[in-house]
Amino acid sequence: MLELRGVDAAYGNIQALHQVSLRVEPGEIVTLIGANGAGKTTTLMTISGLVVPRRGEILFEGKPISGLAPDRLVRRGICQVPEGRHIFAELTVAENLDMGAFLRRDHRQVARDREQIYHLFPVLQQRRRQPGGTLSGGEQQMLAISRALMARPRLLLLDEPSMGLAPLLTKHLFEIISRINKEQQTTILLVEQNANLALQTADRGYVLENGRIVMHDAATALRRSPAVQSAYFGI
């Protein structure tokens, strides 16, 4: 579904990605783990079109997409929940959801999807007239994911969804991520610092170090790998 081939990306003179290659198959949850500053966010930003790769190719459903404007990528079905949630603080919860469906014209289906979201997250319905900025961290994360779902993504990019959330909430969130993957057949590329949790949820994983992919395997295999255990599980 998504394929990166030898992607280099840089901010000015600082190269953040070196020859990154990865694949995500339809229906999978793939996770990208690595330390702070390894290039995980840059990888997602490159896929979303906010960072233009210096070299390499990005294919989505077999077609090259590198260099396309972000709105064109959303139109093709690639949506991202960025790190730090980026809720539109002064827009109401309902308006935030509307913005997720910004490019959609099938208004009836949008309304039905909104109901479904409210069903999935009743707290969002209770707070639909409140400004997004007044929500708690956990609620904002629910809203951020819901907003992305309102676009009916084929590929959902999640950047550090657990950041700043209490452990119990994180667990709940990852259950929801699994449900979205299974029930809506949404393919997910998940970036996480909490490698253990990410590998429990994902089918496959890639390990990023200093902008390079150093390892990739089935998630269960990566969890057993001594190198991953010592570097990312703190054991």
Binding site: L50, P70, F88, M99
Partner: protein, 300 residues
């Protein structure tokens, strides 16, 4: 008492014009954080466009209300095109540059546009036709209220109400607010941010053009430099109300207009600007974010 009401009315009229211009400052600032110093020029170009169009139309002998409407429409569209072009040429290439670069570019644009109109038109004041018909029902109150003044109040109120509704309820309006709050996230939900920014410039310029037409018809004369002082005043009003905030710009404009009118009326017209800018200094000392502005720290 009649004097008081005359001053009140003149202050509201001034405030309404300032508001039409200040909205452009505040919308552009809200969305790209730029003080568009060329914005006053849009008001001036709007007045000149309206002059040219209304002169041509009056040759054909159209009735006054039709001329007013068509001249207003033409001024708004043509000036909107100027706003679009200025952004494309002078600001967009500098979008990722330091904040100072587009600011200087804006000042350059302002000087360029003034001199361009000076060369293309004339350095002198030219008289502007009275496009607003005299309303008979206002005759008993002629010492307080003029028909062009009333027209300013009515038109600006309608325009501002429409703008507010558009921004609050339409898809594009929500996209504008979203872009102003978080440009990166706006890109990620698929908003064409460049188009929203262009639209903001076009809207702001069109509003300023309507202000230019109304005040030109009220004052009866225009020249190439009218945009400068009006622009500075409207900018003051926008800062007074809290730059970036739309209700703030409107409130700030009325406060400024009324202050000027009463200072002129009860003290001396020489002190009009002294009072206006003293008010600005006071507000900046005691409420640096403006009357309705939020503390800058909120924008993380």
């Amino acid at each position: 008492m009649e004097y008081f009401f005359a001053l009140l009315f003149s202050g509201l009229t001034k405030g309404a014009i300032y508001a039409l211009i200040a909205l452009g400052y505040t919308m552009v600032y809200g969305i790209i954080g730029l003080i568009n110093f060329a914005h006053g020029e849009m008001y001036m170009i709007g007045a000149f466009t309206a002059l040219i169009v209304s002169s041509v139309l009056s040759i054909y002998g159209l009735p006054l209300p039709a001329i007013l409407l068509l001249a207003g429409l033409a001024a708004a569209i043509w000036t909107g095109a100027y706003g679009y072009t200025v952004e494309r040429l002078a600001y967009r290439p500098l979008r990722d540059a330091s904040r100072l670069a587009p600011l200087i570019s804006a000042i350059g644009m302002s000087i360029f546009l003034q001199n361009y109109v000076l060369l293309a038109q004339t350095p002198d004041f030219v008289s502007f036709p009275r496009l607003v018909p005299e309303f008979a029902f206002l005759e008993p109150y002629s010492a307080i209220i003029t028909s062009s003044g009333l027209m300013i109040l009515v038109v600006s109120t309608l325009v501002m109400a429409t703008l507010t509704l558009v921004i609050k309820f339409t898809r594009t309006g929500k996209a504008m607010r979203a872009t102003a709050q978080d440009r990166k996230m706006a890109l990620l939900v698929g908003i064409n941010v460049d188009r929203i920014i262009s639209l903001t410039f076009v809207t702001g310029s069109a509003l300023a053009a309507i202000g230019g037409l109304l005040i030109a018809s009220h004052n009866g004369q225009i020249n190439f430099a009218i945009g400068f002082i009006a622009g500075i005043k409207a900018f003051t009003a926008a800062v007074l109300g809290g730059i970036g905030s739309i209700p703030g710009a409107v409130l700030g404009s009325y406060v400024l207009g009324l202050t000027e009118a009463f200072a002129t009326g009860y003290v001396s017209s020489d002190y009009e600007d002294v009072f206006a800018f003293s008010l600005l200094v006071l507000i900046l000392i005691f409420r640096p974010a403006g009357l309705l502005g939020k503390a800058a720290a909120e924008k993380v």
